[in-house]
């Protein structure tokens, strides 16, 4: 078991390293370095940045040193929470992002839970009642879920909300709570708004999870230990729920682990369409305006969040599957 945990930690570390390298690359890519862009930006908004200040900034970010030194400097600053300045807003990146990151995770995790909640029962039902009408219906909905890109789904739902119910389906808060400080009422309001974006976000992974659960359960139902359980005198449905479902849970849990990165990246686009106050819209604006520190940081933090999420789901798998737990003793 220890081996498994260590292996997952090592994987998480390497993934984080990869994400940080890629995020840093994104920051470096546009022509000219950050300080030129910053100076130009400030000039445009009327305030002059003195040569001295520009040089200090360059030293602070080690812009004239070799790339990996710059990376090292950037990374060591980032570890201490200093992600550099967001040019457009003239404020530190962390302030600009504010609680958008937490909101991204709230939406993503809610979508993940929705995936679990819907995919598990449907997957089980359509395996046990194979080739029944509901099975075909669910499989077809599953295909629709996989086929429609989530941003299109968001567009269509928004359009229907607008055209037929004349209600704005987007956003995570009603207008009065948008900027209010966090309170129970605001939380409650958030909860009311969550289902639709979460459903849109989670539909693709739910469809995939249904297919995986159905396929694994169908395999397990044919195994001899199911016949043994029935031969003991256990009633039919208790046999199915206790044994094959429990075994099919393992592959199900591992795929959920890998759908978190998919959901988080999906949230970027869906938030844009539904104008959710997550990092999505911020990232797009930053990329288009080439506000590279803000963009790079968002990419870094979302990446880290998913690494943590994937690691947690690996631990969940550890708890579910005794074979991994007792593997090496």
């Amino acid at each position: 078991m220890i081996g498994y945990i260590v292996q997952r930690l090592v994987l998480a570390f390497f993934t984080t390293l990869a994400i940080s390298i890629i995020s840093f690359a994104i920051i470096q890519l546009p022509p000219g370095d950050y300080v030129d862009a910053y100076v130009a930006q400030m000039a445009a908004s009327g305030s002059i940045v003195s040569q001295q200040e520009a040089r200090n900034l360059r030293i602070q970010y080690g812009l004239d040193e070799p790339v990996w030194v710059q990376y090292w400097k950037w990374a060591s600053l980032a570890v201490r929470g200093n992600f550099g300045m967001a040019m457009e807003y003239g404020r530190p990146v962390t302030e600009v992002i504010g609680d958008r990151l937490t909101l991204t995770m709230v939406v993503s995790i809610f979508a993940l839970m929705l995936t679990w909640g819907i995919a598990l029962p449907i997957g089980i039902y359509s395996a046990v009642r194979q080739y029944s009408l509901p099975d075909y219906v669910f499989t077809f909905i599953g295909f629709i879920g996989v086929a429609i890109p989530n941003f299109l789904l968001a567009l269509v739902i928004l359009y229907i909300g607008f055209a037929y119910f004349d209600m704005n389906v987007g956003g995570l808060f009603s207008p009065e709570y948008a900027d209010a400080p966090w309170s129970l009422a605001k939380m409650q309001n958030l909860a009311e708004h969550l289902p639709i974006p979460a459903l849109i976000l989670g539909l693709a992974t739910t469809a995939q999870a249904i297919r995986i659960m159905r396929a694994n359960l169908l395999d397990e139902l044919r195994k001899p230990y199911v016949v043994t359980a029935r031969a003991k005198g256990l009633p039919g449905w208790r046999v199915v729920m206790k044994y094959p479902v429990r075994v099919a849970l393992n592959p199900f849990a591992s795929t959920i682990g890998y759908s978190l990165p998919y959901i988080v990246s999906g949230s970027i686009i869906v938030s844009l369409v539904l104008s959710l106050p997550t990092v999505g819209p911020l990232l797009l604006k930053a990329l288009i305006a080439q506000d590279m520190f803000l963009a790079g940081t968002i990419v870094l933090l979302t990446g880290l969040m998913t690494v943590v999420g994937t690691f947690l789901s690996d631990m969940l798998l550890l708890w579910i599957d005794p074979r991994i737990r007792l593997e090496n003793n």
Partner: protein, 353 residues
């Protein structure tokens, strides 16, 4: 040994499978009795329907299979009444298990308490994600209302009785931590948890090494001597049959072609298939490096079943115009019954058509 009255008798059992490609007559008219303390050996090659017969008795035939004919009658042995049989009969003298609902109360009290099952594949007949103890305790508490504590002690005692060392520690282990032999012993322990009258062993030792197989066969023998339970031993290994069975039923393509006491079957086989089978197995007593007599051809595909006697295309004593007309009835010669036209006219057809 006086013949105890059979508590379970199967009469002309027919279990067919209906996949979309056509009908597979897996069990096509099987008749035998199960007596307390006696071991019935069912022998046959692959596809002869021996496993389907076992599952039909427990009414756990998977779709697209269904019992379409015959009866499986369970009787109470008044001399030594059994509480579980009483619960299943619920006042009636006997019940036909093919008529009750597979998920009904009667079947649920029969499965595991009156008739229990042991499998060929020790590795996959236990759930890989539940401990051995958990699965045995569940089997106990299904039929006996005892506390979890009592059930756990009974489970440990059962594991010890089937010869598993350090039972109190092994009860909390998972099957992937046990060897093949130990897993099969745990399987037998679970099957005995509610003192069944009949233990169906479907190829119990095929996946085991010869020394472990000897241990398991001896264990089954001991348990039978101790609690007088009946054993239905299904296997393709004639040596195991000779060693364990009191009576033998030889099956081919879903039908019992010959049955009788083990001595008569081995030393005076009547049906050409039984004779050919006995002659074609290499035995440690036969003269080495000499050509074995063989049965020509191979087992036909279930969809192109030969008409009449299913064995006639491969039979040495095939009589043209007789054997391929229809299925020969079961005729009785001494203590043996055989379904073959060679004996058709010698004695009155005892049962069947």
């Amino acid at each position: 040994m006086d013949q105890a009255p059979p508590f379970l008798s199967v009469r002309d059992l027919k279990t067919y499978f209906y996949p979309d490609e056509g009908i597979v007559r897996a069990v096509d008219g099987v008749t035998f009795d199960i007596r307390r303390g006696a071991t019935l050996g069912i022998v046959g090659e692959s596809g002869c329907g021996k496993s389907v017969t076992a599952r039909s008795i427990l009414r756990i035939v998977e779709s697209p299979g269904r019992i379409v004919g015959g009866s499986i009658v369970l009787r109470q042995d008044i001399t030594r009444p059994d509480p579980d049989v009483q619960a299943a009969l619920d006042g009636r003298a006997e019940i036909d298990l093919t008529q009750v609902s597979p998920e009904g109360r009667e079947m649920r009290s029969v499965r595991g308490a009156v008739v229990s099952l042991v499998f060929q594949e020790p590795m996959s007949s236990f759930s890989p994600v539940h401990t051995v103890g958990n699965q045995i305790i569940e089997a106990i508490r299904l039929h006996r209302n005892v506390s979890k504590r009592e059930a756990r002690d009974r489970a440990i005692e059962l594991l010890r009785r089937v010869g598993i060392p350090r039972a109190e520690q092994r009860v909390d282990e998972y099957t992937f931590q046990l060897s093949g032999g130990l897993r099969q012993r745990a399987m037998i322990a679970m099957a005995l948890s509610c003192d069944p009258l009949l233990l169906i062993a479907d190829e119990p030792t095929t996946a085991l090494d010869v020394t472990t197989q000897a241990q398991i066969l001896d264990l089954l023998q001991e348990l039978q001597d101790q609690n007088g339970m009946a054993i239905m031993l299904i296997t393709h290994n004639l040596g195991v049959i000779a060693e364990m069975a009191d009576d033998v039923a030889v099956m081919y393509l879903g039908r019992v072609v010959e049955q009788g006491p083990v001595d008569d079957i081995f030393h005076a086989p009547k049906h050409p298939y039984t004779r050919a089978l006995l002659e074609s197995i290499p035995s440690i007593h036969s003269v080495p490096r000499v050509k074995l007599p063989t049965i020509t051809g191979s087992i036909p595909h279930p969809y192109n079943r030969p008409k009449g006697c299913p064995f006639h295309p491969r039979c040495v004593s095939y009589m043209r115009g007789v054997c391929e007309r229809d299925i020969p009835a079961l005729s009785t010669i001494g203590r043996q019954q055989v379904s073959c036209y060679l004996y058709e006219n010698t004695s009155v057809a005892a049962a069947g058509e």
